[in-house]
């Protein structure tokens, strides 16, 4: 199971790297979003995907999955959400300010 998820994360990283190296600013931002998905999947996998109950006391029968990576991922999701929101607004403002420059040209070239 771990191998499968690691390969999946690898595919996500490949896609994200390709997107970040492209011309359009929007594609770059999409790339960063996919990159954070890959990191979160990886965190989940490195904590181990052993079978066990959900980490809620009372559920399962004494064996739980590791709760720490889930807390880390939750923290990291909100952080990357905030950064992505900021980056999107930044791209929009840049587009407004330098009309039809970087962003538009990048999209037209494709």
């Amino acid at each position: 199971m771990e191998t499968l998820i690691i390969i999946l994360a690898g595919v996500l990283v490949t896609v994200a790297t390709y997107l970040i190296l492209s011309k359009g600013v929007l594609r770059v931002i999409l790339g960063t979003a996919i990159l954070s998905h890959a990191a979160h999947l990886l965190l989940m996998t490195m904590g181990g995907l052993k079978k066990g109950g959900v980490p809620v006391i009372g559920e399962g029968n004494g064996i739980y999955t590791d709760a720490l990576p889930q807390a880390l991922i939750l923290t990291s999701i909100v952080i990357s959400f905030a950064v992505t929101a900021f980056l999107l607004v930044l791209a929009y403002r840049t587009y407004q300010e330098n009309e039809l420059s970087q962003l538009a040209r990048g999209l037209k070239d494709e």
Partner: protein
């Protein structure tokens, strides 16, 4: 009792939150933000004394014992940096009062600065890897806002690059944390150190350590500094000074922690790599500093050179070289701040950043000129000033360790620093006066006062290095003997 340790992070945070509600009261915002930084500076001196008396302090949040909860750790190294960061921020704020402009002040400038300092202080104090990541993000998010605040075209252009680079490096940080957690199964730094020492640093752990080196190299501008000169030359002067003084230094701090506390078992791989990266950084920074005619670019490349220089001390990794690095780190935070402030003042007074369009400024602004001269000498490491002792100790360490290539590069880079700044001084301050007496824009006294204070601190650091010596020795001792740190956190017996 150790609750005092959390205050350097909590005071700026609380003050920042309060200032959000005082948006239109600019004067109140100024005083509260300055007061917050002064209190933090005072407190950190007190904490430094406490550490001298009682050894390393730690604060377990919520009374969870170390490997399980998050914690703050105060040792001499982190407290020295907290103190310097607070002092520099306070003085940069004094400059910002006069220069930043009411439009920016009303758009939450002071809260953002305070949040950034909270992130910086948190990064210095935390004893947990993921908490370090969070503090980095606190600092970076505030810096994203500060670099774009005001919204001029060049700011937008550079800030997109800056944000994307930092998103990528934060991603790498997260991946490195995931690998380390998968390999060792803990996030507490002391516990990590103990477990890595137990397992012996396997090749897998060495790979992870190199990943960390890349992450913090991106943040600190070690070898991967291509984003730095652009981003540091667009924001307003006070912000650029804060960036130049604080942001890269947090990356340097993290590299020091990582490679003295956790990954110190394979120095022939990791420390050699750090040495190579530091060498190339100094070469690249020197070339950049010499190549440009834009004051702000030259100053930004000087930040790069200093990063390389400080890490020479870590690459050599003898107690004396590490001590030199600590001295130089403290000196560099202060002097880079004043250098950015002076360069910004010159740009503001002449309306251009090109050095061949300025001339003879010393006739119009003698104080500015002499301040620049002193700062230049301090940066180059001329004896009575603050850069000297750090350079001597790092050089001594490199010579003692037989690292003659690094030693030569470190000394040559000092010459390039001197040359690049002397070029500014000669072109801008000497020569024919272009600005006539009646066209001259009077320089506000309140803009020069912060520069004078910082320069005075720098001279004081040079003349009174003895005062710092005890703290720096203790800091270097903790860095060189990770057991001291591990035992302070986990108790005796575990940290063998």
């Amino acid at each position: 009792m150790n609750n005092i340790l959390v205050l350097p992070m909590v005071i700026p945070l609380l003050a920042g939150i309060i200032l959000i509600f005082l948006r239109s009261h600019v004067h109140l915002q100024r005083w509260i933000s300055f007061a917050a930084m002064s209190v933090v500076a005072g407190l950190s001196i007190y904490i430094l004394e406490l550490i001298q008396m009682n050894g390393i302090l730690r604060l377990d949040f919520g009374n969870w014992q170390p490997p399980f909860g998050i914690l703050f750790v105060g040792d001499s190294f982190s407290m020295l940096l907290v103190l310097t960061a607070s002092v520099v921020t306070g003085i940069c704020l004094l400059y910002a009062f006069q220069s930043i402009g009411e439009a920016r002040e009303k758009m939450f400038f002071y809260p953002f600065v305070l949040f950034m300092v909270a992130g910086v202080n948190g990064s210095f104090l935390t004893g947990d890897l993921f908490n370090l990541y969070v503090c980095f993000e606190v600092m970076l998010l505030a810096s994203y806002a500060l670099i774009t605040l005001g919204g001029t075209k060049p700011q937008f252009k550079e800030s997109i690059k800056y944000v994307v680079i930092n998103v990528v490096s934060s991603w790498l940080f997260l991946v490195a944390i995931a690998y380390l957690y998968g390999a060792v199964g803990t996030l507490n730094m002391a516990h990590l150190s103990a477990r890595i020492a137990e397992a012996g640093q396997t090749p897998l752990l060495t790979v992870i350590s190199i990943l960390f080196l890349l992450v913090f190299g991106l943040k600190a501008g070690l070898l991967l500094y291509f984003w730095l000169p652009g981003s540091y030359s667009v924001p307003p002067t006070a912000v650029a000074a804060l960036f130049g003084a604080l942001l890269t230094k947090v990356g340097i701090y993290a590299i020091f922690r990582m490679f003295t506390l956790l990954f110190y078992h394979e120095p022939q791989i990791t420390h050699t790599l750090i040495g190579v990266m530091a060498g190339i950084t100094m070469i690249g920074g020197s070339l950049g500093a010499v190549a440009y005619k834009d004051i702000r670019q030259i100053v930004s490349y000087n930040v790069v050179i200093a990063v390389g220089f400080i890490l020479v001390g870590l690459a050599v990794a003898t107690p004396i070289a590490v001590e030199g690095s600590i001295y130089y780190l403290i000196h560099d935070m202060i002097v880079k701040a004043v250098l950015f402030l002076l360069a910004g003042t010159m740009v503001a007074l002449t309306g251009t950043a090109k050095i061949d369009r300025m001339s003879g400024l010393i006739r119009n602004y003698p104080l500015l000129g002499w301040l620049f001269f002193i700062v230049m000498l301090a940066l180059a490491g001329i004896p009575p000033l603050s850069g000297f002792i750090g350079k001597v100790l790092v050089g001594q360490g490199a010579a003692g360790g037989g690292n003659y290539v690094l030693l030569a590069l470190a000394l040559l880079s000092s010459i390039f620093v001197l040359y690049s700044l002397l070029k500014i001084f000669k072109n801008c301050f000497w020569g024919e006066t272009i600005i006539s007496e009646d066209e001259q824009i009077p320089v506000k006294k309140s803009l020069l006062i912060p520069c004078v204070i910082l320069t005075a601190i720098s001279i004081g650091l040079g003349l009174g290095a003895e005062v710092l010596a005890a703290y720096v020795k203790d800091a270097a001792n903790t860095l060189m003997n990770p057991n001291v740190y591990v035992e302070a956190i986990l108790g005796k017996g575990i940290g063998q």
